[in-house]
């Protein structure tokens, strides 16, 4: 990670939604994001103890910290690999999708705690499953196709 690389705009797609991030860098096919952009784009924050989300902190591998965080940037791709999360990118390198870890998803389902989500209705108003706590919820899917 050198400081004289020109930054680029990328679109990050994650459970946070879609976010455009300026000043990103692609190095050896990995995406480095400015530390400041990380919380909004991916939901993770760089702290002295590692990369953190809510109460969870994942320490960076000892002796390899520079492969994950350097000069105000975080190697988001490497962190995703480290934590067995799925990711992919457009061939052009301008859209990066950061997905889930299958074991975490499976564990969440086995807890029988309904995973929360927030989705819009036709008018654009957002609804979260958790808004309806205290009710019996019948959650059902359909599609036009």
């Amino acid at each position: 990670m050198t400081e004289n690389e020109a930054g680029i705009y990328v679109t990050i797609v994650s459970e946070q939604g879609e976010r455009d991030v300026a000043n990103a860098r692609i190095m050896d096919d990995d995406l480095w994001l400015p530390v400041d952009a990380l919380p909004e784009a991916l939901g993770w924050t760089l702290k002295p103890e590692g990369l953190c989300r809510e109460a969870v902190c994942i320490p960076l591998p000892r002796g390899h910290e520079d492969s994950y965080a350097a000069n105000g940037f975080v190697n988001a791709s490497a962190f995703w690999r480290l934590t067995d999360r799925c990711a992919t990118r457009s061939a052009a390198g301008d859209i990066w999708v950061f997905g889930a870890n299958a074991r975490e998803r499976a564990g969440a389902l086995l807890s029988l705690e309904a995973p929360d989500f927030t989705l819009p209705d036709l008018s654009g108003r957002m609804h979260s499953l958790s808004d309806y706590r205290g009710r019996k919820i019948y959650l059902v899917t359909w599609a036009s196709w």
């Binding site: 879609e18 992919t88 997905g99 389902l109 995973p115 819009p120 036709l122 959650l139 899917t141 359909w142």
Partner: protein, 223 residues
């Protein structure tokens, strides 16, 4: 149908939440406007809940109690595979016996929801945690990879980059062959907006029994 259920049982504690798994909200709009729902009627362009709940087709449903606990994990929402043998693929008409069996399954299923609302945890349709866990289909890494490629394809399609979406669509389909939501969302549609052309029926014919709509495992269902 869900609208009627919501209105009938809303003051008994039920909230129906419908989620349209439609990458284009405009495709869902006419159906929603015709139904004029008073329940939350949501649009999931990227099929996020397919990832969260490991869903493979529509309609699937999850029963969630007042504490946010799943008391019936994702299952087929009261439909059956009668169309595989009972549908005239030219006219779209269902054979009477097939239609009758569909209706029976639907009515048992809707009756079970009403029983849950009336009896709460005492309903025989509420699964205890052990049985509920046994029924959860667990996602693996291929499935998560499929969702990531599907989301990339959707992001590209929204930007008009359909040529670039071809590869992620093919990858998503190959990684998650059990998913009808991925396949049908990304399949060519006919003039009525339906992915029910020859390729669809070829896929249906190749699927094992229960591979389109897994049978609802519920007390009172017909044999």
């Amino acid at each position: 149908m869900w609208q009627a259920l919501h209105q009938k049982l809303n003051d008994k504690g039920l909230t129906v939440i419908t989620v349209a798994m439609d990458s284009d909200p405009e495709a869902a709009r006419p159906f929603i406007e015709a139904a004029q729902p008073v329940h939350p009627s949501l649009i999931d362009r990227d099929h996020l809940i397919a990832g969260l709940f490991n869903l493979v087709n529509v309609p699937q449903a999850i029963w969630i109690d007042e504490d946010g606990k799943i008391v019936r994990p994702p299952e087929t929402a009261g439909v059956a595979e009668e169309f595989r043998h009972g549908l005239d693929r030219k006219t779209g008409a269902m054979a009477p016996e097939a239609a009758a069996r569909n209706e029976k399954i639907r009515s048992v299923y809707v009756g079970a929801i009403a029983d849950w609302i009336a009896q709460g945890p005492a309903s025989r349709h509420v699964l205890d945690p052990t049985h509920a866990r046994d029924r959860v289909r667990l996602p693996d890494t291929d499935i998560e990879e499929a969702h990531v490629h599907f989301r990339l394809a959707q992001a590209l399609l929204r930007r008009g980059r359909s040529d670039e979406a071809v590869t992620p669509i093919e990858t998503a389909r190959a990684l998650h062959p059990d998913s009808w939501t991925i396949w049908r969302q990304t399949a060519a549609k006919n003039e009525r907006g339906l992915a029910t052309h020859d390729a669809f029926f070829a896929r249906v014919d190749a699927a094992p029994a229960g591979g389109v709509y897994a049978p609802v495992d519920m007390d009172g269902m017909p044999e």
